[in-house]
Symmetry: C2
Subunit: 175 residues, 2 copies
DNA sequence: ACGAAGTGCTTCGAATTCGAAGCACATAAT
DNA sequence: ATTATGTGCTTCGAATTCGAAGCACTTCGT
């Protein structure tokens, strides 16, 4: 079953993925309950609040969503909620400049203490000072390395998905 | 802006979340391309392949999806694709026992080498032996601690607070 | 034995995600 | 200048997620 990953690697991998999953889920709950926003929306607002001025859609999306359309969707929601504004960029008419509104800043401020509390309770409370140092160094390295990797398009011969083939063979579709 | 998290904590937190996000995205691409399955589906199949016998839906869901309905949906897809089977459990007629089929095992075997390759390229190649040790220890601790925290959706159903039950008994009570 | 409460799973609707295709503007090549 | 190619964003459809509500069976309390 492990086929190339020794048990230590396998355990580390699964623990990492699941720990982040649980953390994300808890964070999501807190943000929804206290601010009515998702984690993605929080990230976008936080980025804008941290930035010095407006950002383009692409800059804003970077590292938060993995499709452009996803950002368009979220920006639409945030704009409708009055948390951001979208304007054009004189230097490049294609681009859209996104700014955070005072309401947006206020919401971030309202939600942040609870957010910090959750991350503290679920993540930092389990970490010694040394752990924190190490984890920060490791994950920064991993992130930077992973982001530099090619977007994985060199997929070998694309086999037909098993689920699709089976769906054809089984005409008793529920919808 | 940081309001309770020092910059080191903040940087670690963001690096962690984003690194896992990127890793997950790459893994998803590989699994979709080489096996036609999602990461969630792979996790479910891997769990079943690792287990000694069939698992109940709840056991299978644990740590993979955060809602029971999510598992029902995925189990439906996997069953239709012939990768798992669902049967009843004589000891408890409510429960559903899920088993992996030979096809399911074959698919896991087909997909695993590429999966290992991606995790190696994106994660383990950036880690020294010491890093791996540390990361494993840290994330195992964080995961176990986080999983023990209250709001877990795949966990036992939320118990009604005594106050709620009392409100039911006296429906004309003011709020 | 009987009803209340709990547990396991499914159904349903709403929200969110992505990728592909499309549109508008920008830049490069000739 | 004109055309080709590239870039930024949006629209669209399909897939997947969750939570609430519901159904069926089980267990508990009396």
């Amino acid at each position: 079953m492990t086929d190339g990953l020794d048990p230590r690697e396998l355990g580390t991998y699964f623990a990492l993925m699941e720990a982040v999953g649980v953390l994300q889920h808890h964070v999501e709950q807190q943000l929804r309950a206290e601010g009515g926003i998702s984690y993605v929306q929080f990230q976008l607002l936080a980025r804008l609040a941290d930035a010095d001025g407006p950002l383009t859609m692409t800059q804003l999306a970077d590292g938060v969503v993995y499709s452009r359309s996803g950002l368009t969707y979220q920006a639409g929601l945030l704009e409708k909620a009055g948390l951001i504004t979208r304007g054009s960029f004189a230097q490049d008419e294609r681009a859209t400049l996104v700014s955070i509104t005072d309401e947006g800043r206020a919401l971030v401020g309202q939600v942040l203490p609870g957010h910090v509390q959750v991350t503290r309770r679920l993540l930092f409370d389990s970490l010694s000072d040394d752990d924190l140092q190490h984890l920060g160094a490791i994950m920064t390295r991993v992130r930077d390395h992973a982001r530099a990797q090619p977007p994985r398009s060199a997929a070998p011969r694309k086999r037909r998905a098993a689920a699709d083939a089976a769906a054809d063979a089984a005409p008793d579709s529920p919808e």
